[in-house]
Symmetry: C3
Subunit: 397 residues, 3 copies
């Protein structure tokens, strides 16, 4: 029995009927079985590809990507996932980062989607706006499908919003599951999700939020550490707390990086912007107050620079479980002495974890493909079984 | 009998042998049967896709798009059409908008076309130049094919030139045909093709020209309305007049928007540039006279602003047949109070027609695909029959 | 027996086992049989396509292109080759031309390659850096494959580095082979690879270097001509000299264009930058010395302008064998009186050779596809035989 058949049999035990024709916004919208299903299908697609089996489920069709913030690796992951399933990627290049009027979003959404089966959107720049944009976009497509404008209703894959970064955090978690040899081994493992200094302040909060929202579902001991002023959205912290009750996890907060690293099995040190300041910036931006934005940025850079000691140094790593915690990063990292003078992580630490880091990233195309697969395929068990049994090589010779 | 088979049988009755291996520049180059064939194949491809049948006619090959003016919706329509037929879109990004020397066009045309089955070009910026550019480009490919440089002779699809916008106007007309329940119901219907004010003066004339050149072939009463100075190309008006004789249509002109809207069954209010000024601008541009261009633009903006009353208001709409004329627009529209302070159409009017407007746009990928299909497939009836009968799903699971 | 079967039988006689899973950097890395194999497969793929046979060897997969210098024709050739074989092109758009730190290249290389079967790189701007960049990039992928990050090891196709331009020079040579009716007719033919004046100084040296490194393998009499100061890399000249001994070719140098053109069977006049100055420029660039770079450029333009007499005029052409040497150019050429005031070639000369020039270019997609084919297909003879026998049309109707 191939690994794919094994995985398909596991998939059969899960309640996932509601995934068909739905979108992927946040991991906490999804049931445990649905999260499990995504990991399962991601692993199955990878197994099929490793065995040179075709994984195409579309004969033609488009996957539209809309990046309202720069991206290389997520863009390639999305393009890879589309290609893996038989879709052609088309990039929608919105030159301006202005939040468009509702009507215009509605129009654009329909105009690019006549042949689209999937829409991948990144909109992570402004607090309270990224998620809203995606909802507006998909609402327009829902209407378009209902009104007979679109012949199919495309699936959304959230490629990072202001709240969650589900394709990243699901890849992180799938990596963790394989690293520790299975979900059953994660109970009680300590995860340090910590802020770290970077010369470029202002990065989205979606990764720390996504991590505390997802990792607390696996019975882990998740410690969120950051300097004062770098709080994440309270509603996501609330999700993490609710998970603790439901899954017997722990969620703690500290302003001491060392406390977080102490005995940690996993560390995820990365920079993010101060939430309150981001809200302020969003408001200034809405008013078009460029002078206000410039002043705020100056203030934030100064605030940021006070916390240069928040770095994943060798000394910090030595505090972790046996000095050997698994180091995670969504990449690219700001590496001290390599990509910047002072950054998130020591070069020697980063370098030691290079292979696991790249493996962590390698799950993303499969996680995205699994999200599409489960939203687009009515009987995913049968589809996997059929792909496994078919005499259809990816590389024909 | 499926709708596709019905359509294929209708296609069999048409004289369309001359479409094979030809280009699509202007609708008035095509016979009635050829126009009918494009609508028929567009409907058939849409039916096949709705029934989840593969519509691929190519196993590999490229569709090259060359946009010498910005585009989102036509670009996506072209990419969708290519994907629908099995071609991969490749964008030729000419950074400069300068009209290249003949030799350079000849070279570029051949260099990008070694694997190209289709070339889609938009060149609508300069009067007397867009069409010329396409002719030069395709002449080069004709030579290249004859001389053994190219193994196939790609088909041109005019994605908008200075004279016609056939993919747009054919989509508009297919929408009108379905809206009114068939070509046979169009006789005597009044169409108001009217100028409307937009803060961005200078839009191409190809839509009004395309509309008067095409709609007069269907026995309709086409009224072209615009302020003085906004005349369209006289040779296209001549086409419209000839159509009247041949098809028993009417073609009238007025400088009074109300007169055009009065009892109209269809209204198409949109902005376009004053023709004479466009010719002047082309000449200034050829001389590289930037100061002259700037002065002309200032003059034109002032001229433009005198006609702010040319707007598709609720009051204007109430003049139309039962106050319920079908509102058409090629999108994006300048919507008063939404995308601009004063524009082509009232928000309430635009909003009421949103679903039909998006449906109007939804025909474009199929119209483009039909143009390619009929130029590339030797026996289109047999091809449609084969696609209909084949057990080849677009979405496999 | 089809031409493809004939070519496959010839391929069977060649020792090419070592091509599988290798990269293509420089032609002189490859054995004679390997060079022969590329020409053979290129011809076979072209024959298959001409006979409307599918040439797909991949069901899905990506071809990544990374152009660190502008390109239209090579980019389209690469995209065409990928499409021909069933891969989808994805462009990696490195905005900055800065040579990235080793670590960053390592990361980018892996991040874009999860589904990549081919990587095409152009990096020709800086002496001693382009080739290094490719080595670093592919080293990272080698590591990534070994460490289980990548499931397949992509193949490199050098789309032009600072040393060689193999896809260009192989296309040039395949054109020459067909023009003269076979490799056996090339012995003793005189090739004038000469510098020519262009208003834009600073073009890469990879074409003249690639030509002297490849053409000297065919028993030809290769004469390299340039003004003093425009020497090419000494190590490539050494390759050419070694080839002479091995293949009975001749390699001569002169500072007199006429001497080179005299009785030449083939002329290849094109501009390139002075090598020493390029080294100097690379050093200034590394130091970020913009002022130094500007001064150097001014000096180089002056030096360049002293050699306006190095042009492929009618007079020069009349010196060649029967006045009818085959004129080669990698395109685009600087054509006197057409694309510039004074350039590499007279308009009348260029125009007379237009068809052969475009044919020369038409080999590039097939040469690139052959490089990919031989690096990716374990049994290329069987693969060609299977493609030839299959009832699988490229254009289905």
């Amino acid at each position: 029995m191939s690994k794919t058949v094994e995985l398909a049999r596991h998939l059969e035990t899960l309640r996932i009927n509601n995934m068909y024709k739905t979108d992927f916004y946040w991991t906490w919208d999804k049931t445990d079985d649905e999260i499990d299903a995504i990991f399962t299908v991601a692993d199955a697609l990878r197994d099929l590809r490793e065995r040179n089996k075709s994984t195409k489920i579309f004969n033609s069709g488009l996957g539209i990507s809309l990046f309202r913030d720069n991206s290389t690796r997520t863009r390639f992951s999305f393009a890879s996932a589309c290609n893996l399933l038989g879709l052609e990627e088309q990039v929608l290049d919105e030159k301006k980062s202005q939040i468009a009027h509702g009507e215009t979003v509605r129009e654009t959404a329909n105009m690019v989607s006549f042949m689209a089966d999937v829409i991948g959107i990144r909109d992570d720049m402004y607090i309270r706006q990224g998620h809203e944009y995606m909802k507006t976009f998909m609402g327009a497509l829902e209407d378009g499908y209902r009104d007979g404008i679109l012949e199919q209703r495309p699936t959304l894959v959230n490629l990072q919003c202001d709240v969650d970064h589900p394709t990243q955090c699901m890849s992180d978690m799938l990596h963790v599951i394989h690293y520790f040899g299975g979900v059953e081994n994660l109970k009680g493992k300590k995860v340090a999700m910590t802020w770290a200094y970077s010369p470029s302040y202002g990065k989205p909060l979606s990764v720390p939020q996504g991590v505390i929202g997802l990792f607390t579902r696996f019975g882990m001991d998740v410690c969120l550490a950051h300097p004062e002023g770098y709080e994440v959205m309270p509603e996501v912290e609330e999700i993490a707390r609710q998970n603790c009750e439901k899954y017997g996890s722990k969620f703690t907060k500290t302003n001491d990086m060392k406390e977080a690293f102490k005995d940690a099995d996993i560390v995820y040190p990365k920079s993010w912007a101060p939430f309150k300041a981001m809200e302020e910036r969003t408001a200034l931006y809405s008013k078009g107050d460029q002078k206000g934005i410039d002043e705020l940025e100056k203030k934030l850079l100064a605030q940021n620079a006070e916390h240069k000691d928040w770095a994943c140094t060798e000394e910090m790593m030595s505090l972790t479980k046996d000095g050997k915690a698994l180091y995670l990063h969504c990449l690219p990292a700001d590496i001290t002495g390599l990509s910047c003078e002072e950054g998130e992580v020591d070069n020697s630490v980063f370098d030691r974890y290079l292979v696991p880091l790249y493996k962590q990233a390698s799950y993303k195309p499969y996680v995205i493909a699994a999200m599409i697969f489960l939203a687009q395929v009515k009987d995913p068990v049968k589809a996997l079984m059929t792909l496994d049994a078919a005499d259809n090589a990816r590389k024909m010779f």
